[in-house]
């Protein structure tokens, strides 16, 4: 969608309840467009839930989520937002190419985009193999490739590089930066701290709340830590001195 100014995603007092408890507490945040934003936080803090709310598949208790200028989940957004779930979502009984060709028909792109997406995730050698017979990391890349097919404006990636070796991670991050340079907005959740340093901006979450937001250097400066991992730990760990 052209003509969007301001952030690609904005949440306003977003509250989500799952299984009877509040998972996101009145969350206010913004994701700048045309950049890579990393979403970090301990396991169970609500990263996946937030991403689901942004792509419009999560029931929301209160607040608003605005994506590319429209309410999250609007039908028009389905052509512009792509989502890669944390667990790879592909058909195990189809080959890599058959999976991608099916999703390509849905987003109405051709064979050249299928080939490009396979190359972007480094799966050209496995293109003819059944997705169910691939390794976990390979299957995750099929899932990622399906999201790259339609050249979305907003890419929402839930831990896309889990289980991948450093060489592959390096390559994928190069691809992510190329996409961002081309104007795509990326929102990437991650546990891997050295990946945080590759993001243009970071959102740090804990227990369904936003702890901090800023560029990696800003967060380092604010916490006085040497690296992102230190900054993360000092922000995420409850302050002992308050208790004693």
């Amino acid at each position: 969608m052209s003509g969007i100014t301001g952030p690609a995603v904005r949440t306003d007092r977003l509250r989500v309840e799952r299984g009877g408890s509040t998972v996101l507490h009145d969350l206010d945040l913004a994701v700048p467009s045309g950049a890579i934003t990393g979403l970090l936080g301990p396991s169970g803090c609500g990263k996946t839930t937030l991403l689901r709310a942004i792509v419009g598949v999560q029931v929301v208790a209160a607040g608003t989520v605005t994506v590319l200028g429209r309410p999250a989940g609007s039908p028009e957004l389905r052509r512009h937002v792509a989502y890669v779930t944390q667990a790879p979502s592909v058909y195990g009984d189809l080959t890599v190419l058959e999976n991608l060709r099916y999703f390509a028909r849905i987003v109405d792109v051709g064979e050249e985009d299928v080939i490009r997406a396979v190359d972007q995730v480094g799966l050209a050698d496995a293109a003819g193999r059944l997705a169910g017979r691939l390794s976990g990391g390979q299957r995750a890349r099929v899932s990622l490739a399906s999201a790259l097919l339609g050249r979305p404006d907003l890419l929402v990636l839930d831990e896309p590089t889990v289980g991948l070796d450093p060489v592959l991670r390096q390559e994928l991050w190069t691809t992510f930066h190329e996409l961002a340079d081309g104007g795509t907005t990326l929102l990437v959740s991650s546990h891997v701290m050295d990946e945080a340093a590759r993001c243009d901006g970071l959102l740090l979450m804990r227990d369904g709340r936003l702890l901090a937001a800023g560029t990696p250097p800003e967060l380092l400066g604010r916490t006085g830590a040497d690296d992102i991992e230190g900054a993360f730990l000092s922000l995420v760990t409850p302050r002992r001195e308050v208790l004693s």
């Binding site: 029931v59 979502s89 999703f103 849905i106 987003v107």
Partner: protein, 245 residues
């Protein structure tokens, strides 16, 4: 709604079925084996085989299609591919009609095979038009498929999904007139059976078995089956939620 996406979905479902030859074989062979067994059971009484053989040729495919389609849809849900599809520009009916189209094609093969074997090899004596018998058998299989797709919305696991088969289909088999004539049932049961789609499938097929081709009745029966099929697909689409908790 988009014909492109519906057809792509049907092709994808058929490709997945082809990768699973055992399921395909079970779908096509089990009804044939059951009709053969029925023929043996009534070996000395061919008039009984003729009377219930034709309706059962239509009911076996309904049951197997129900099971296969409800499990297929459930797998779509548990594998996460349903969530992915629902974030894409795909109408919910595209998905259901895609499944419908794919399984309808399988149903044509299945119903033709079972009718062919029953009539050609086992000597089933069909009083009425063979083409109409196949048509109603296919219609039944498609009905079973759409009921299965709808039922899968209420199943959170394979265990639950398979239980829907006895829960939803066995009462219909008991009440449709196959076990006991409907007019011999208690009034309440007779009325209940009038609200169940299999009653109309049985009515049409048992008429055809004795060569009664009352066009008005057959049109009514066929109309009810098509109507329930479309209603189940529509309800299936309505119960498919893009947003979940």
């Amino acid at each position: 709604m988009s014909a492109r996406i519906t057809l792509a979905t049907a092709a994808r479902v058929l490709r997945q079925l082809r990768r699973d030859p055992r399921t395909l074989a079970l779908l096509l062979l089990v009804p044939i084996l059951l009709v053969t067994l029925l023929d043996w059971v009534f070996a000395g009484r061919p008039e009984v085989f003729d009377r219930i053989g034709v309706p059962l040729v239509g009911i076996f495919p309904l049951v197997s299609m129900f099971l296969v389609s409800s499990i297929a849809m459930l797998r779509e849900r548990t594998s996460g591919t349903l969530e992915r599809l629902l974030t894409l520009p795909l109408a919910k009916l595209d998905l259901l009609l895609g499944y419908g189209l794919a399984f309808a094609l399988v149903a044509v093969v299945q119903a033709s095979l079972v009718t062919g074997v029953a009539v050609g090899l086992l000597g089933l004596d069909v009083g009425g038009s063979l083409l109409l018998v196949v048509l109603f058998a296919v219609g039944n299989a498609v009905l079973g498929m759409s009921l299965g797709l709808f039922a899968s919305a209420f199943a959170a696991s394979e265990f639950q999904a398979v239980q829907f088969m006895p829960a939803l289909l066995l009462p219909q088999i008991l009440l449709c007139g196959l076990i006991a004539p409907r007019d011999a049932m208690a009034r309440g049961l007779e009325l209940l059976s009038a609200a169940l789609p299999m009653t109309y499938a049985f009515d049409a097929l048992s008429r055809l078995s004795v060569g009664d081709e009352d066009a008005g009745r057959l049109l009514l029966d066929g109309g009810v089956l098509v109507g329930v099929t479309l209603a189940a697909l529509g309800l299936g689409a309505a119960t498919l939620r893009r947003r979940t908790a």
